[in-house]
Symmetry: D2
Subunit: 448 residues, 4 copies
């Protein structure tokens, strides 16, 4: 096959795996969808349009199963020790065959995911340009779309002390170069968003870190990213992905509230949104629903990297999320705001290292897709019933319906004027039940 040509048919890599189809809840076929029926309309929108699911390149096609305690366990057809051009091309073939067989509409990638090993920045630049052309051809051939692209500013040893927040301006310049090229490529490929994951933006010890300079540089470069977006006419969202720790001792994009404060400080809160990941949420001491609710409330909700940790291991395990209740609770926060706009649900999840065959990739994604679909049905049921919303409205009614509530929110109200009314009227109100357990029972009732 000549350079530049792509391969979308013949010789399947995942032999024996048929495209995954919807078969309904009673199916016992492990490679069928039981809940994900993409054209089914839920709350006025097709399931596919609600969930906008994407497969990620890195965990699913790049990772060979290694961890810090041992070598890779996966013998992927498309891997080779040298990670040369032929291997990169075969990996791309595998990826698009996978996307197509899974039937999800989007994918995501880092620049280095799609290229062969590239010793220098210029090598990467050249190899990336070629690989992007091939992605374009695959997209056209398959109809699969790009949810977002991102530059890997953490894998190469030069980024040990960060990319955009590196103490060395030369290294930051390398980071800027990668971002520019990856943004341009994302734009060219019609990507719906562009993501900056914190990577190694953070610190290992304050003793060698100038926190103020690093954050100020970060703010400055982020403003350039936004400026560049407008310059090239990219219509997608710029997204930052919060994470509290790992690989750095402290990551600057700790959680959604921290990112908001950072954006607000640099006047970027209307331009940059967040890409929320459940496993990062729980590592930061939050529920997945909390991070979504916070982002929605602050107007910076962007996209979701769906996965989960387990609650016993204190690092990013990136497991496929099968927790129906947790996702339902999150969707209840998300859907009333209009749901995902340019964002999607990207499976930033990896099979366990012991799940070593290519089939495991399918089992895992099928389970992940179906859990999202089932949680969507549950959340829609909760929303359509309306009982939770009604109870909440009643709980806060005093702020609009009572005299004291309206007065407190009126212009000119002051600490003094409110305190005076409270004193004069001898206000001595008591607590009213918050009905937490009653409300929690409603969620389980809607999970079917």
């Amino acid at each position: 096959m000549a350079d530049g040509q792509i391969k979308v048919d013949g010789d399947p890599i995942f032999e024996g795996i048929e495209p995954i189809r919807y078969e309904g809840p009673t199916s016992d076929n492990p490679l069928a969808y039981r809940y994900y029926d993409k054209d089914r309309v839920v709350l006025g929108k097709r399931m596919e349009d609600h969930l906008r699911m994407a497969v990620c390149y890195w965990h699913t096609f790049c990772w060979d199963g290694y961890d810090i305690f041992g070598a890779g366990t996966f013998a992927r057809d498309w891997h080779s020790p040298a990670n040369d051009r032929a291997a990169a091309d075969r990996k791309m073939q595998a990826a698009f065959e996978f996307f197509t067989k899974l039937g999800t509409p989007y994918y995501c990638f880092h620049d280095v995911d799609i290229t062969e090993a590239s010793p220098t920045p210029s090598d990467l630049s050249n190899n990336f340009a070629r690989a992007v052309d091939r992605l374009g051809a695959y997209q056209e051939a398959t109809g699969v779309k790009l949810l977002w692209g991102t530059a890997n500013l953490f894998g190469n040893p030069r980024f040990a002390a960060g990319g955009l927040t590196n103490p060395n301006p030369e290294i930051a310049a390398c980071a800027v170069r990668q971002i520019r090229e990856c943004m341009d490529a994302t734009h060219k490929l019609g990507g719906a968003n562009y993501v900056l994951w914190g990577g190694r933006e953070g610190y290992d010890t304050l003793l060698n870190t100038d926190l103020s300079r690093e954050l100020s540089n970060f703010g400055r470069f982020l403003a350039m990213v936004v400026e560049h977006k407008h310059k090239i006419g990219f219509k997608g969202k710029i997204l930052i992905e919060p994470k509290p720790h790992e690989p750095m001792y402290h990551q600057y994009d700790f959680d959604t509230a921290t990112v908001y404060g950072f954006l607000k400080r640099f006047g970027l809160e209307k331009e940059v949104h967040v890409n929320i990941e459940p496993n990062h949420a729980t590592l930061a001491g939050h529920s997945f629903a909390h991070e979504l609710a916070t982002a929605v409330s602050l107007g910076i909700m962007g996209s979701i990297d769906i996965n989960s940790g387990n609650y016993q291991n204190g690092w990013d395990t990136d497991q496929f999320n099968l927790d129906l209740r947790d996702i339902t609770l999150a969707l209840i926060e998300l859907l009333p705001s209009g749901g995902l706009d340019t964002g999607g649900f990207n499976f930033d999840a990896k099979v366990r290292r012991q799940s070593s065959t290519a089939e495991d990739l399918f089992y895992a994604h099928v389970g992940g897709v179906d859990t999202l679909a089932r949680a969507l049905l549950a959340a829609a049921d909760v929303i359509e019933k309306g009982e939770i919303a009604a109870l909440k409205a009643k709980r806060y009614a005093g702020w609009t319906e009572s005299e004291i509530g309206r007065m407190m929110l009126s212009e000119g109200a002051s600490l003094e004027s409110i305190a005076d009314v409270a004193a004069k009227q001898n206000i001595d109100a008591g607590h009213v039940s918050g009905r937490q357990e009653y409300l929690e029972n409603l969620i389980n009732h809607s999970i079917k």
Copy 2:
């Protein structure tokens, strides 16, 4: 003794305890200071002026040793089951005797700490006014000063769903009333700051919570607090105390970065600062030093509630902090910025429930005071040697000294222009050691 009179001499409550004096590092007297020599000049300032230490009313004088599993273990001279006026008065006598014997210059209180049990808001108002007068008399008689006051918006059952963020405006009005009266009292008593601790501002479940409204109300009322401060001419700082969890599932003032974002959103970041507590820092997934460095960097550093948790128990244990290295690392972040301004080190720490005698209160505070003093000496040694600062300066020198660094920070630089330079010059810089262990060794070397 007639109402309004105070008692500052005769019949000591802490019989047999002499005022604590500095005896130097070799002293074996458990009730002497080994490092805290208040007039000793360190980095150009008296120790007392650096540390501005305060004793807190609640843990030390109000708490009877109860916990969620059992009844109080302390048989304090000044406690009575009824918590009547006589008990409150005796408690105040004990407090000022303690402050005086310890020789620390400040104290802190909640409104309800200093009054008898007060069934209604109006009872509290009246009892509080009387108690404040008595505090004033004690301050005058002893020279002890008020570091800050605060209103307790979490103990009374009415505040189960929050104070300023309560769904019920009547309850929020009660909260406003308490804040107004406590701010006025703090001002009257010459307090150096006024604190709002999050208390129950947060939520237990999103299912009954209107996050947007609660935070918007909170912002609005905080603006009123600031306005009131200016109106009454209070010169101290308004402080918010970050805490991630407990008593609520989620506390709105999660950490310093979250508080900054909140303040910035409501345009209050110049008016409101943070009161940082190490135990809250670690519960939020941060080091104490991180929270200080963040507050300094964002310009919102206020005061410190010094204590520590232990790292095995996941709740606020409020132990006396004896971790020399941890405090030294924190002071290294704080001192170069000018140190505490109106803030201080408030011992928001409690003896363990098994430490049931009044002597234990002294042992604990003496240990706490001395640890702060010794850490101050260590931090001053690090700063005076200057090696860490010099290495840090060198690490970031490229941003001011190299052409590429200056260009990247110059006006007009863009993603494109930087990327172009990087490409043209084939920039391919490598990582340089961050020398973490070398730097960490310097800290231990300065702890003497």
Copy 3:
């Protein structure tokens, strides 16, 4: 009503609450069971007999909603500040009305839960004897049975440093007295088990703790408990409840594996079993399923205190457990071993402090009961399908079916003989997929 008489009809305390009935999955009645149909036969046994559910006295009837930050929020009909005899009697009436209306077969109590305030050990002894008689009468009148009793060795200040592990033998003697009386009462009431919860058996600091003596005393007294059980002819199980932390910094009964080691050390592993609590499991870094699997594997499985924490708060939150998947995974470990013998599912769970009405007690328990029932159906479905068991059997088949497997387990096999075979045969076997995601999907498929 004369002393000794009980009240089981007339004047209901929970007015307007009808007995909870099974109405099927589609019912929208918040006070009906959707899944708990007690006579429905699952895996050859009635649901009621599988689950053996109990309501606990302490959280549901004793607790007034106080926490370490504030006073009680519940205005229970049966509470009084004095906690006098009349209050204790009314509490018992409420309890049995509740048990009866809920329709669960068992309850659990601490000695001090059922008595009025009892200043001295002898007061407690007398009041307890009377209260036990009343319990007996209520049991007879209602048919409700006792799952287990236990002595409270942590609430009274005397137990600040532990009960059976107290440094002071006099306090340990008080603990022994309470245990003896509570065991005798449990026996008299036909209790199915007797529980020792760790309470304050543990330490706050090693600096004042003789670990060896405390554990040796604990072992000695536990042997006496077992001896006493046989002496009085009590046929129920003696149970220890693992918990890692709280109230003590370290609790001796850290987790199931720790308890096993302790029992084995004192030769009690056949006599004493464990009472497992999910919230304690997760605080110890384990899943609920892990603790059950460990107990089953070690032959010490006893009973379950069903509840859950949330994963963001690091203390025992004792929430009602609505996590269908988590309970299903646990039941899959439990049921194949024969399930609960004398044990049961005790709702050691409390409504949130904001859920302040008596109705909330019902909502919470109904949700808890139904979640158990639904998880039982899911676990039964998994077990009946048999796919997981079959895959597991196949995975380990080599140990019985292959020559090398049988040889390695044969008598006389040694490190040397096995190593020699491995060398001689050049054994170089590779990893086979563990199919984790495939298996996890099966669980969600069985949750209906």
Copy 4:
């Protein structure tokens, strides 16, 4: 250099680094010891004999600075991509030069650390035999001794599901072969102990795990290890290293108490001891001191892998431990029992990934060595003063000195007889202060 020859002089790898010497506390030389004066006698023993320090092969010589997010950052003289024989030999030369310059008496290794890449078990066997001969020659030439050896049963993909607990007997046989060869080599090299680190002995999901079989196999093979030790006449201790999580979701050797229970179950508690690591202790929810105190109390104390985590990151960070107080608290538990017997302090610690030069290896170890030495001096001071021991003795005196205490411990005492005495004597004892803060202050006082 011909095969089999070693190189101990000429061409140093660490050029410019002189042997580290003791220069006393006031030295500002970052490559000198301030506290570690190996011949100084403390509590009747030389410092070197107390601490028996070892350098580990894996972190210090094998690791290239890679992590799960990026490639290696260290450009070690002795590394080569191929990991061929020449590289392995040069690594060994570097290791012994390092040991010698550091001046610590011991080292530790895994079998695979010292060999070139070995595709098959038989390759490993052959390469290992050769490398062991070279180790022997180096030991003889330098006087450096082996603290312990261990077999790596986790790095090779075949061990993804465990070594001794693998579902596949063929893989377990490979594990047995490695252990046998590594034990024989350790014996040959005069090693003081042999260690089994849990590696991947544990599980990722219970759904594919037969817990009972895996633990029973583990017990069986451990018995064979003990048998083999006696057969070959190895006099060192067999050690198990507890760890709660990572790499597996659950590690079987969770903590010291768990290991004890496991040993006791298989009758091995007199034959196998524990190798305790502070970072593993804290990940398990324990303090370092707790794990030591537990091991001492249960009679299974073996050796120490000294390092620390940080308390914000929930994985094994293996940092050099500079926490003087933490180590002092641990030594107070260890020293009175006689201290380390065949065990030692092995620096199972790695420089941060950003500390990329060979000098950093020296800085880190010098800091680690000195912290141990300084903590030893502090612990000795506490022990020599005797105040903590005296207070503890007094606290428990009742068990030997009071009538009730003696009676409770006498033969024939029963629940009944003790309860009867308590009732008859109306025993109503109260809590006495545990003096925690007083005691904690004493520790800081001894840190000089």
